[in-house]
Symmetry: C2
């Protein structure tokens, strides 16, 4: 182990990330945001070559989506559910007394019908209920995600952005879309000067049953990740992933192909914050000094 400053220390010292009282929740400087904007532009330009409907989803979504998508079942330890206050003046008075004495005032709250969004394509599926056009449909969705993983690793944020390229339709086209974007994504990331590798991967399913789900996911090669070193050469970080969902979303959300079958779906997700961090790690904290090839791609 080195005794020098960590990458996080360097990012904070340079003012690129502003830490808060919660690990994994940071303000981002304009240097950082200009990189994110450049990435969004590059992904949008690539996505523009295919017909897709583009949406920004907000950071919160109906809580029912957590249940229907299976996320609550598979990743309960990652969720964020939103609680609210619906009391009257007297309740409020007691809440404030508890808060001022340092007590747990959240006992006065109740669960709302809202949760944080764990993956930016999840709020899309309930809006697709019904029959898809012939050939299925492509979507291009962006937004903030939350996963409850407090960490000092800057690449493991609780609140981060994804840009997902989604296909919903028949099984064969779904896998083709996944494989094509896996290649397109690796090309884009490589063109920015990142040393990337594509590897078979699994999601961090919860608990004992989760271990079996993870093994199945790997043996069926349903998930690939594009990884690159951020905090360590030995344990590179996933900065993008390509996922075959089979009918995991089509079934609960009632999405049907033109041929009348339960729709399959897949998505390729760019981890915008992790790619930004990988670029800062690879090229340094001063984008003005980055290789011209990367600069020209991000800020044409």
């Amino acid at each position: 182990m080195s005794d020098g400053p960590t990458f996080r220390d360097e990012l904070v010292a340079a003012g690129v990330l502003v830490p808060t009282a919660c690990d994994g929740i940071y303000g981002r400087s304009s240097v950082y945001e200009d990189i994110v904007a450049g990435l969004e532009g590059l992904v949008n330009a690539t996505a523009a070559s295919e017909e897709s409907a583009s949406y920004q989803f907000p950071p919160v979504m109906p809580r029912s989506v957590l249940e229907q998508s299976g996320y609550l079942s598979s990743f309960p330890d990652m969720i964020g559910s939103v609680s609210i206050f619906r009391g009257d003046n007297a309740d409020h008075k007691r809440l404030i007394e508890v808060a001022q004495s340092g007590g747990e005032w959240t006992s006065f709250l109740e669960a709302a019908d809202v949760s944080l969004c764990p993956a930016v394509c999840h709020p899309l599926y309930p809006t697709l209920r019904g029959t898809l056009p012939e050939g299925g449909r492509r979507y291009d969705v962006s937004g903030w995600c939350f996963r409850r993983e407090p960490s000092l690793d800057p690449a493991r944020m609780q609140s981060f952005r994804q840009h997902d390229l989604v296909y919903v339709g028949d099984a064969e086209r779904a896998r083709q879309h996944r494989d094509r974007w896996l290649q397109l994504g690796a090309d884009i990331l490589g063109s920015l000067g990142l040393v990337v590798e594509t590897v078979v991967a699994n999601d961090p399913f919860f608990g004992r049953v989760g271990r079996i789900l993870a093994e199945n996911q790997r043996s069926e090669t349903l998930k690939y990740e594009i990884v690159t070193p951020i905090n360590s050469e030995e344990n590179p970080t996933a900065i993008a992933s390509a996922n075959c969902h089979l009918d995991h979303f089509g079934e609960p959300f009632g999405i049907v192909t033109a041929a009348g079958e339960v729709a399959h779906s897949c998505c390729f997700g760019f981890g915008l914050d992790r790619i930004t961090l990988a670029l800062l790690r690879a090229h340094g904290l001063s984008p003005a000094d980055w290789p011209a090839a990367a600069r020209d791609r991000l800020w044409p």
Copy 2:
């Protein structure tokens, strides 16, 4: 009352907003997002004329900020606190059984140290603890906010974006910043072809005590709003606001001027989603057909 489609109906029918199971939580189309991006560019260009530090804050923040900022005390009915699951395999099994039988599974959750961000300048203040440089400092902050106000009025979203121009320093410069941006903001909005009016306003403080706070805020003209018709000519909607906080944030967050006094602060906030809706209302749902003057400003 008219029997025709509402503005919300029109936005949804045109696919500009995608409704979800929760009122006030919408997906946004690329038509909508291009307007937001144009607004951000216009505000950034104006802000670039003054030296300010620019940050994007994530949609969640430390829950302690809700307490220290006084938001919990003044607007308890607006907050969103985040709950998480920290149980083991057995707890998870019971949670899923309850969820599958349609029960209230959130009883298995506990409050995290995280809440949704109610106003984008709030996470800034705790990062400023200490002594400011001579003359104070300007900040330019953007991000997603949450307020628990489910509504069918598209201009009253639960999840929306703000872009705030903040000054922290001495009382006189704070008021000057507020007044200057109030004029700049009205000029920007007017230049987009919106018919705007600047009015004295108050925040929706909670309960009986809140009524007094609101009256004080108005009599001291601490808050102005820039309003324009969105859903009604008689009750125009606030699309931007200018606020003198006095030492409301300087005091609890320990922010001190170079002269050793508790810092005052103020901010001017653009409501990016409401301005976008106001433009769609004023100029129609097809930005390609908007007046050239507005188009040239948004997409130079």
